[in-house]
Symmetry: D3
Subunit: 69 residues, 6 copies
């Protein structure tokens, strides 16, 4: 299986909280990972992003898709 | 600063590839991290997600928002 | 009305399940449809996507926007 | 493989248009499909969505994730 | 036309910058608007969001869908 | 703090409606604001977007990220 997405991270389920329609699941990610972001070139220029910069990567939980064998 | 998102991950810029409108930036994430996913309860049931399960977390790069001090 | 999105699919409501804040609605899509994906060129290369390839298209339900006359 | 997403549609690549950072890929979907949307209950009420209603489903191409074996 | 989305904002095109695959369009929004966010209840609690709080609303440009008559 | 997103809008919380997993928060946005959209160049051409055009900007509430000091 090959996925058309830059971020593919191995995790282990830590908790499952079920709601009426939506549920919240948390995962432990053990290994160091590489992550990728696509943003406008305007934003890259405004943030002056360059190699070595420390950043915080924010991802709404709704955008994380779990896949299980 | 407090962010209304479950995933807040520290990273360091590894590469920046600028395009005409969009750019692709890669980050190194060192520490063990916790990640969260919100999905339908139907999907949780279908995947039978339970504590300890190994999963792959897929995130399109477009959904990763870098923040820099 | 013209929409700034590549995917515009006709459907018919099959079920509505209401929750406290979010609801899950299902639709029947009858006709053959065309769908489009935007992904990184890196992902296209990694998947070696070419005409005729069979793929599975995954879309989180949260990204589907219904419009009604 | 089980995916934590409600929409899993079989398609066949029709065209690939590569750009510097992002690419646009189009697919043919032959079979009738079921699609699902998650939206606020407020929106469901405002649209008065009920079984049998005809709607248009709008999805930005960026939210479509292709997977290939 | 009724849209299954909480945010429906009137704007006027200020600039269009076309790229190979993606384009960046900017809009002027004149009137005061109401905006809505859906986030996890956990995040609401962590931010201690209450009436009157001043916040910044961050939206990646990729999530803004223009519609034109 | 610099955010890798084109839309950064000041708002004030008007209402908070908490659900089991997800919550819906509404904001008042006072000042005139600029907004940006990234869409395919194909969509820009189809909509014939040009300076001065009046449009409606649709954003699902799930894509709005509140940040609080």
């Amino acid at each position: 299986m090959k996925y058309g997405a830059r971020n593919q991270i191995k995790g282990r389920v830590k908790s499952v909280k079920k709601g009426d329609i939506m549920s919240l699941v948390k995962f432990e990610v053990a290994a160091p990972v590489e992550m990728a972001s696509v943003l406008t070139t305007e934003s890259v220029d405004e943030l002056k992003l360059k190699i070595g910069d420390e950043v915080q990567l924010i991802i709404k939980a709704i955008h994380v898709l779990p896949i299980k064998k």
